[in-house]
Amino acid sequence: MLKAYLIKRVLMAIPTLFILLTIIFLIMRVLPGNPVAAIVGTKAPPEVIQSVTRRLGLDQPYHIQYINYLSNLLRGDLGRSMIWGRRPVIDEIMDHFPATLELSISAFIVSVLIGIITGTEASRRFRSKLDQVFRFYGIVTYSLFIPWLGIMLQLIFSVYLKLLPVGGRIDPFMEPQRITGLYLLDSILTLNIPSFFNALSHLILPSITLGVYISGVFTRTVRSNMLEVLRRDFITAARARGIPENIVIYRHALKNAFIPILTMMGLQFALLLAGAVLTETTFSWPGMGTFLLERIMYRDYTTVQGTVVFIALLIVSISLLVDVMYAYLDPRIRFR
């Protein structure tokens, strides 16, 4: 049954991807701006413009361009950048994705830890002052303007206390030998301890900024799910048996409240992987968000398309994974 469920989910993902790719393909061609002009400049003679247009395949009708792109995609070719040396798009993505992955994982950990603890404690102390504080926290954090929060943290910890860096991923000369592109992991794998702490120090502020921002959603979701579960009979029964309250809350109640939270966690993580432009800008973090934004501004069609496809694949994969975990945790799902 689980296998059938998985197959069904995979098959549903395919049309989703195609629809997304088509929408992006059309939007890029409808927007003003010309990648040929961006490459050859304003003074190129007509024959040069024609030659570059032909080379990029932009002289073809739109449906031919689309078919060519799809067939390349099926061969795993995301194309080449239209500007700056025509590097393969996948190489351009791999220059930036590890930074985004590292930030996403750490921000996610921060947000989940804060969200689960505050949401659980708020539900445990329903209608108390602490509950009100955490509910307020949940609303305020999601309304925060990320650059403001980031700048405040930079001012306090970087400028005044000089404890942590203002921005970037790592200091010059401190990069570990590249294995995965994730600096923390690479420095552990190469036993480069100074590099590990240098990378970690750069990761702290952007992770807290982004993590706090999205933790509000988790706080509210955990709280409402926990309140519902805590009203159930099996919780009353557990308490009646004398099980310590912490075990009742964190082992029994939270587990049962976790399934919808898991779905939300998966979606949030997937969105993080698409890049966090505001955080990346504030902390000069060389991630996917600012990379994609820049390539949109330069009308680098192939890079934008390739990057969006990559992100779409990631999001679809994570959604699949969440669905699988969901079905694994709750057997009732498989039989629906």
Binding site: T42, K43, G168, P194, P286, R299
Partner: protein, 520 residues
């Protein structure tokens, strides 16, 4: 009691982890000592492409001037041209042939020797690709001839008094044929200058190291690193936190003033020949009507822009030729005064507009290329024009790639903001590209005045400064009368650095020489 044991265990674990983290952090602080031979410069500017055939922006030219060099170069702190990769040159009697003798034994960082064939190849590649900066070559050079292994001759289309200044510009830089393809522009870190590139991660870091094969004096600092920040606030904080030694291009005016007052850093400033102006498209309505162009010129309030947006850090400009450059006259001030709303209203009425029938225009600007203050500049121009009571301005913007590569050349924008950093230090560079009918279309002006064309062509070839000055002054007077362009303000260069930084030279060339900078 089992419960209590667990609590103690947890506390112990937390203490051990915290101690481990603390010790590790302490160790890393001891290990990571920033080498003295490193200077880190922070900027929010960007490198576009490291190819002299395509790069046409200030910051990329600056980098290329530190990792490459021309046959001639400027002596730091002056506008005096001195030998570069060429040890000498001669000019033919008719002024049309410049023969350069190259220094012997030079090579690029990929091992390719520099000789006359390489120079010829580089210039011909520039002409073949014909990208944005290529006009600096193709407008003047007919062909390049190899005389012998280390002698190369440039044959010009006509005698040009300022050709040596052109040769010092990036489009004339020799490049290694192994590093650059013939057929397209491409990033390459191969050069022949005082520094070589050891690491480049676009928009993250550019790491330069002393080039041991450079013929001239070695740079004073072994490593020069450029860190790219995404906004001016982060740049300022990086300086205050001690992460960078120099903040360059560019801090916000309010931050510059605050840092100056704070006294913890050196704020170095110098007059700059970079200018900002309004462009009016002259070959189509509405600005084919000179009365409307003159009305805009009379109504614009330069002082307000300089004070409100830039806090007095820039200066109102009344000509396209910057102040401090020979031949500059305050032509627009002579014509309109500092501002003349009555004249603007009179001209608008003559053109058929009134308070009930307002002159509606779209004023275009680009939001980030000239810094984050650009939207404020546009807003203040709108405000000042609307004070006539007879103009209605709608603000529109486009990102630089679209603005420059498409909208300007196609004449999509009837009135728009632009800036100019000089390609070469000569008044010709501030007038010919904008006013000569053969060239001004590339900058969206589309102005056609045969008298101006003739004056500019004469000034190009006249041998004495006095003869050239006379013509450039007349061109400026015609420019003010016809107003196809409206100069707004002239900038200043600001560099903020730690107190122990020395060797910073800001001069009219505006290109920072990293190789002169060191820590005391």
């Amino acid at each position: 009691m089992p419960g209590m044991k667990k609590v103690y265990l947890v506390i112990l674990l937390v203490v051990i982890i915290a101690a481990a983290i603390g010790l590790g952090y302490y160790w890393y602080q001891q290990v990571y000592v920033k080498p003295r031979e490193v200077i880190i410069l922070g900027t929010i500017d960007k490198i576009t492409v490291l190819d002299p055939a395509k790069a046409y922006d200030f910051f990329t030219w600056e980098v290329l001037n530190n990792i490459g060099e021309g046959l001639l170069k400027y002596k730091p702190g002056t506008t005096e041209l001195v030998p570069g990769l060429a040890e000498s040159y001669e000019v033919s009697e008719d002024g049309r042939v410049y023969t350069f003798k190259l220094r012997k034994g030079l090579k690029f960082t990929d091992g390719t020797p520099l000789d006359a064939e390489v120079v010829k190849w580089s210039i011909e590649r520039q002409m073949h690709l014909n990208l944005d900066p290529s006009w600096l070559v193709t407008a003047f050079v007919e062909k390049v001839e190899v005389i012998d292994k280390y002698t190369v001759a440039f044959h010009l289309k006509r005698p040009i008094a300022y050709f040596p200044a052109l040769v010092a510009t990036v489009p004339y830089f020799p490049v290694s044929p192994k590093a650059y393809p013939w057929d397209e522009a491409k990033d390459s870190t191969v050069g022949i200058g005082p520094y070589k590139v050891v690491k480049w991660v676009r928009d993250v870091e550019l790491r330069l190291e002393v080039n041991p094969d450079y013929y001239g004096p070695k740079p004073k600092t072994k490593y020069f690193i450029i860190k790219f920040y995404k906004d001016a606030t982060a740049l300022k904080m990086a300086l205050e936190a001690g992460e960078i030694d120099i903040a360059w291009r560019e801090l916000l005016p309010t931050d510059i003033i605050a840092l100056k007052k704070g006294g913890k850093f050196n704020v170095i400033d110098a007059p700059s020949p970079y200018i900002r102006y309004i462009v009016l498209r002259c070959n189509q309505p509405p600005f084919d009507d000179v009365r409307l162009r003159r009305a805009i010129a009379a109504a614009v309030d330069r002082d307000r822009i300089c004070e409100k947006v830039f806090k007095g850090l820039v200066t109102p400009l009344y000509s396209m030729v910057p102040m401090g450059m020979w031949s500059h006259i305050d032509a627009f001030k002579d014509e309109y005064g500092e501002r003349n709303l009555e004249l603007a209203r009179k001209l608008l009425r003559e053109a058929g507009f009134s308070e009930d029938n307002k002159f509606k225009i779209e004023l275009w600007y680009t939001p980030t290329h000239y810094g984050t203050t650009e939207a404020d500049v546009a807003a203040l121009i709108k405000e000042s024009l609307e004070e006539t009571g007879m103009i209605e301005v709608e603000l529109k913007s486009a990102e630089w790639a679209t603005y420059a590569a498409e909208y300007i050349a196609k004449g999509v924008m009837p009135i728009f903001l632009l800036g100019w950093y000089p390609d070469y230090i000569d008044p010709d560079n501030y007038l010919t590209p904008f006013l000569h009918s053969e060239h001004c279309g590339h900058l969206g002006v589309f102005y056609n005045n045969s008298e101006v064309d003739e004056l500019l062509e004469e000034a190009m070839v006249k041998p004495t400064i006095e003869e050239r000055q006379e013509r450039y002054e007349e061109v400026q007077r015609i420019l003010a009368r016809d107003a196809p362009l409206i100069p707004l303000f002239q900038g200043k260069l600001f560099l903020v650095c730690k107190k122990n930084i020395r060797g910073v030279v800001l001069d009219p060339v505006m290109l920072l020489r990293y190789y002169l900078i060191y820590k005391s």
